[in-house]
Symmetry: C2
Subunit: 580 residues, 2 copies
């Protein structure tokens, strides 16, 4: 429990070296170039003024540098969290209004506070409730929703509300009203960015640039699009020709302010904040873990909860857009060589300089450019073939993914993810509610026992050995009762039944009651229940109950011991007498 | 798929014999004597007029006799279901009003229809979501609520609403207003019934009666209390002295009628109907299975869903109170020798005769007598020591039981049971989210591998074998990633990591992605991932994915095979070269 356990910066800063500084500075420079357009774009996606995107890349990055454990994770505005914020606030106020901005700060602070609380209570396991298929379906749906939400900006037509289908129909209906100059900029940027993504890296490589430099140049393409389209808009006076521009961005750094403390607002945002914090955490941690593993480093998920939570609280008190760990940005940070979280702090410095110097020229930036940036960025989120792939592996998981995707598109983000979680949990319980079990017999001449249906094995009509291939808990306890009683009813000469428990890792209170009921019922039917191969921790628990006393039969160390003791006429005599 | 699969009566009726008839008739007689006061009492508990209790013991019993698979289960009004009905209808209409009665018929028909649908869709596993601790906590709380709800009837004071605490305080405050004659009858009946329960059986046994006859006489005690208190009330004119009597009961049999089909009413009762059907089903099936096992018989849970559902629909279309399988009544039925479901049909005949002949005298029956009958009956439901017992076995289960009990008392039946289910599921996922795993080494000179922390075993700094003691699924997939990467970070010379999967029964899509991530990350760190002892069904699934191609290492049949192949310098050479 050293201070560096809670403030990892104290652990790595004293050993900081000059060569590390150079790597961190280079990574920070490249991430800054990437982050400026992303910050503006994701603020637009969240329905917030552009400067809030820049503010979100200041204090949160500094806080993460102090408290985070990943040297590579680049915190800042991200697409999915921005969409979730817009969705949560849509019912509360008009996008861009002061009330909307205030509510977004409350939402960021609240989800940050939840993350910190989860970290302190070590509740990181709650993120496990979001299974991979649910996350994947949710992220794909979010990507589609984001792309559709940006098409009106891209083409210069009026946006329409409603669900995915209604929006699509409205968009197609108003295609005739598109604004030619806006659409030219939007579609031009889109095409340019796609070209950069597909060909720039290879082209630069052929020109003799090192692969990594070519890679990073391709990733920094959006900044060139921002500069060119901004210059064009300024020189051609596109704003006066009806092209929507970002408009005046206040200069200077944000001043800290507490978000509103109105309890009604907090409670109405609580469920959205909980989902945002879970989704942001899951995405950030999986990025951070992937990157850490490449250098045989480790991150601490519970400390990550605290660091991401403080970053989110930080954005809430410094007037920023919602933040989380970004995927592509972290990869760029890693590949550019970021060695410590200080790279993030340097990025914050870079953004601060941009905020102080660039706000005047940014006013000329067309929103269509940002829309194109967003659409290209979220293209990587949409992975529809994953549904078929997952379905082929497991229908239950495929169904959960598809349901999450469809419900997120049709019913909204919260319903989609909650239905996905409920379905994952329900399907898991269903899958384990009929545990695989097999009646086994002895492989002749050996100590091995195999399924009687698949192998030629020795059996005994007075002795049945049932191997259970699952932990016993409430969801399958009654199925076990049913399986055992069916076996007893099927085999009229039965006198001994052995449950072979080598795969039973847990016996919960429901399963214990079921075992007691099985023992009682078998006894009523003149059959003795025995156990074999009970694991140590399970046995410790059973030993503390009345079950072992009530057990009609014995507990054997191995299935073979049980076979030796119970097989053959002699051993069965006592029960036969008891029945008479 | 023979007709007798769906109509079990067709299976057993053709072989019906005279000696079975005598046994069924005797059982029916005794159950009828027990059922008359219970029917009246549980109708009162449900807030329904007394004749509805009798009607509930006619058509439903006939339907269960045709469709049911248990020869012993005695269907009719039961305490917990009556309480759940009263609770569900309390917010809709005033107890006893025509609207209330109509809604109760809809509720019975709806929960019956749900049961039939679950049976046809073979969804009996849904009942597994109600774990033993949750059911036990819920039933105990229901018993307490029922007892408290009957105290005003017992003592002749005004009932007060609110939760358990408010009712208790109101009761104590109005004890001074108790009606002496009513309280005398109520407390007298209570004392008499307790005396019968404790001493009558033993006393009759000492007088030389066979044990079974004494047992049944004790169980039929309530009918004598009903007769005596009814006679007293009639002769002494207690009704004119302010003792509440049942009052006029309409004579004759009920006429069938469809319940209201108003969609608003159906949808407002849907969630209550779902809970009632699940609770009724779980209780009925566990009684039926216990009794069937005593004679090595089996019941078919999915057919039971259909039979109980039709019985419940039957009560809804014949003006009856809600029905389910009753515990004590079924035990009496079994002990009296009921051999086929025809015993239930004979019971229905007995109740029909009672309905045709006894309604005039029943008008004089004091409600205090019925209250005492109910209170004594539910005494057996309340099992508070079970909380301590369950807590001692498993804190998670004990907490779920306590939470269900407390929330049912404080917040009502629906909140209590839903919170219990959510808690059971959540705690189960938590429990399996950190699966037990152990780094194992070779027991020298053998093919056995044991935990390195507990045994003196051979290990190899370039090879780690991790045994996983749990199925791999979304709730523990990330924990596995963490465990493996921690192991790799701890052991810098590591070149091979083997996951020993003998206890892994499932690998869901989330866990597959985690295995892929582990493989990728270990590869980045210069470590090869291998698997060993993968079970057949798990291997079949993995073989159909890209995972086996992507896997850096191999899949070994046994841990020993893996040890032989990877242990020692020679085998490690290729990886060492690849890293260089």
């Amino acid at each position: 429990m050293t201070p560096s356990r809670w403030i990892p910066l104290l652990g790595w800063l004293p050993g900081y070296r000059r060569d590390t500084l150079a790597r961190d500075l280079l990574a920070a420079l490249i991430v800054t170039l990437m982050l400026v357009p992303q910050s503006l774009a994701y603020a637009q996606l969240a329905g917030l003024p552009p400067e809030m995107g820049l503010y979100a890349s200041l204090l949160p990055l500094l806080l993460y540098a102090v408290f985070g454990t990943s040297p590579s994770l680049a915190v800042g505005p991200v697409a999915v969290i921005s969409l979730m914020t817009a969705s949560a606030l849509g019912g509360i106020a008009a996008p861009g209004s002061a009330e909307y901005v205030g509510a977004s700060l409350v939402l960021a602070a609240l989800s940050g506070a939840l993350l910190v609380a989860m970290g302190l209570l070590r509740l990181g396991f709650l993120a496990n409730f979001l299974s991979h298929p649910v996350i994947s379906g949710f992220v794909s749906a979010s990507g589609l929703l984001i792309a559709v939400s940006q098409l009106p900006h891209l083409l210069g037509i009026e946006a329409a509300g409603g669900n995915m289908l209604e929006r699509g129909v409205a968009l197609v209906g108003s295609l005739g009203e598109l604004h030619p100059a806006t659409a030219a900029i939007g579609l031009g940027t889109w095409g340019y960015l796609l070209w950069c993504r597909r060909y720039l890296r290879g082209g630069l490589g052929r020109l003799g640039l090192p692969a990594m430099v070519a890679e990073l140049a391709a990733k920094a393409a959006p900044i060139s699009a921002v500069i060119v389209s901004g210059l064009l808009a300024w020189r051609l006076g596109l704003g006066e020709h009806g092209v929507a521009l970002i408009g005046e961005v206040p200069g200077g750094l944000p001043s800290p302010a507490l978000p509103s403390l109105e309890p009604g607002l907090w409670s109405s945002l609580a469920s959205a904040a909980a989902l945002i914090s879970l989704v942001g955490f899951v995405e950030s941690v999986s990025v951070a873990q992937t990157l850490a593993a490449k250098r045989r480093q480790r991150i601490d998920p519970n400390q990550e909860l605290i660091a991401l939570g403080l970053a989110s609280v930080g954005t809430g008190v410094s007037g920023g857009a919602p933040v989380s760990g970004g995927f592509s940005r972290s990869v760029v940070n890693f590949e550019a060589g970021a060695a410590t979280p200080l790279a993030g702090a340097f990025t914050a410095l870079g953004i601060a300089m941009a905020t102080l110097t660039l706000t005047a020229p940014l006013a000329f930036l067309p929103t269509a450019t940002l829309a194109a940036t967003i659409i290209v960025a979220v293209g990587g989120l949409i992975d529809l073939p994953a549904i078929r792939r997952t379905w082929a592996y497991s229908r239950a998981d495929g169904a959960a993914m598809l349901a999450t995707l469809v419900l997120t598109l049709a019913q909204g983000l919260e319903s989609g993810i909650l239905a996905g979680v409920a379905l994952s949990v329900g399907l898991h319980l269903y899958r384990t509610s009929r545990p695989h079990s097999a009646v086994v017999g002895r492989v002749p001449g050996s100590e091995h026992f195999r399924n009687v249906r698949r192998h030629e094995v020795e059996t005994d009509e007075r002795l049945a050995i049932l191997r259970i291939d699952e932990s016993l808990y409430f969801a399958n306890a009654r199925y076990l009762e049913d399986t055992v009683m069916a076996l007893a009813a099927r085999q009229p000469g039965l006198e001994h039944l052995v449950l072979a428990c080598q795969a039973v890792n847990i016996v919960d209170a429901s399963a214990l009651e079921s075992l007691e009921a099985i023992n009682r019922r078998l006894k009523d039917a003149g059959v003795a229940l025995h156990l074999a191969e009970v694991k140590g921790p399970v046995m410790d628990r059973l030993a503390a109950t009345d079950f072992c006393q009530a057990l009609e039969g014995r507990i054997f160390l191995s299935t073979f011991d049980a076979w030796q003791a119970l097989h053959g006429a002699e051993a069965c005599r006592p029960v036969a007498e008891r029945q008479a």
